[in-house]
């Protein structure tokens, strides 16, 4: 039992360490040309971004939309009016912001 605890603790430490150090979060969005935008996420080691929180905020910082990366690490939303910012929020140190002007 003790060794099981130890193993889980070790696994947790290793997992956390690798999450914090080895992974770089990556996110890219493009305009589908039909009034919607598709964002894809992932990590530099190939691990999935499924479940990562996604926010679409106005230029002033108000949250317009929120959701999560799908099973295939994708998030589609309807383009809001005016300038906006997409946030890919995979936790501390893992926040990516993409401005609407950079979404083609």
């Amino acid at each position: 039992m003790r060794s099981l605890f130890f193993c889980s603790a070790l696994a947790a430490v290793l997992l956390t360490a690798s999450l914090a150090m080895a992974h770089t979060p990556l996110c890219s969005c493009f305009d589908n040309g039909d009034g919607t935008v598709l964002c894809e996420g992932g990590f530099s080691d190939g691990s999935s971004a499924s479940g990562v929180k996604m926010y679409v905020k106005s230029a002033a910082g108000a949250t317009l939309l929120e959701g999560k990366m799908s099973d295939v690490s994708e998030f589609t939303f309807t383009k809001p009016q005016g300038d906006y910012v997409v946030q890919f929020d995979a936790g501390e140190g893992h926040l990516i912001e993409i401005k609407s002007k950079d979404i083609k």
Binding site: T24, L26, S28, G42, D45, G46, S48, A49
Partner: protein, 273 residues
């Protein structure tokens, strides 16, 4: 004097015959921050010297396998419909080649893109034998890896152990030679540096060479894989390195003549600055 001349002529002629053929699958950038339209050139040539460019026959297969992340299956896109015949100029001649202008919908998502070309066997008249070089080029968009290290399942294939698109100058590139999925013991390798930059607009090689080979054995470098078909090469200079495993494929004959079914992969190294 006449003997000396003859010896000189032989010396000039014979090494040239030994230069390696390389099927090129070329696009200037393979580590892309974002996707978009992409132009790919298919040229069958001698890359170190930008020498004799062979007339390519019809392309049997040309496709890309894309995968984002380590989950899921690679997505296959047939690229043959995008092929257009072009004439590629080497420093000594012109040869029939192909280009493909891929719309931005093909290379758009993040992930790895493993491009594969299976050309038709080329009859090398001097040797009275056919050469077919099954070639891979791996492109990445956005830094999310995918299927770069996964065997495609080709008859002859080099499977990389290092990302072919993420190498510093002075680094090492490792891989394994497979024949129908099985390692090729002591596979014979040829390695060439792309010594004359391709000009994408002119469909030609630049006249200026990046390096000078002090000896013929440095133009086409020879190496052997180990008993497991594994190899490592040094990337001495930034730019493109072609690795070819000679006769790795199972098919040894085509239309009654000898066939060398080779596997080629292209690796790019960048300057560390």
């Amino acid at each position: 004097m006449r003997k000396l001349l003859l010896a000189l002529m032989l010396a000039l002629v014979f090494p040239a015959a030994a230069k390696a053929h390389f099927q090129m699958l070329y696009t200037p950038e393979i580590a892309l921050s974002e996707g978009g339209e992409m132009v790919v050139k298919l040229v069958f040539t001698h890359p170190f010297e930008a020498g004799h460019t062979m007339d390519m026959g019809p392309v049997q297969e040309f496709y890309v396998l894309q995968q984002r992340g380590s989950e899921g299956e690679p997505k296959k896109t047939d690229l043959k419909p995008f092929l257009k015949e072009i004439t590629w100029k080497s420093l000594t001649n012109s040869g029939k080649a192909y280009e493909a202008v891929l719309p931005k919908t093909v290379v758009r998502s993040m992930g790895d893109y493993v491009f594969v070309v299976v050309p038709s066997p080329y009859l090398e008249k001097e040797e009275d034998a056919y050469i077919q070089q099954i070639t891979k080029l791996v492109v990445n968009v956005g830094g999310v890896p995918g299927n770069w290290s996964a065997p495609v399942g080709l008859p002859a294939e080099i499977v990389p152990f290092d990302k072919p698109y993420a190498n510093w100058e002075g680094g090492v590139f490792r891989g394994r030679v497979l024949s129908e999925g099985k390692p090729v013991e002591n596979a014979e390798l040829e390695i060439e540096y792309l010594n004359h930059m391709p000009d994408m607009k002119a469909n030609a090689f630049a006249e200026k060479a990046a390096a000078t080979a002090p000896h013929d054995s440095m133009v086409t470098m020879g190496a052997l894989a180990n008993a497991q078909g594994e190899f490592a090469i040094g990337l001495a200079k930034a730019g493109w390195w072609g690795v070819c495993a000679l006769g790795a494929g199972p098919q040894k004959e085509f239309q009654g003549k000898e066939l060398s079914q080779d596997a080629v992969i292209w690796v790019k190294a960048v300057e560390m600055k």
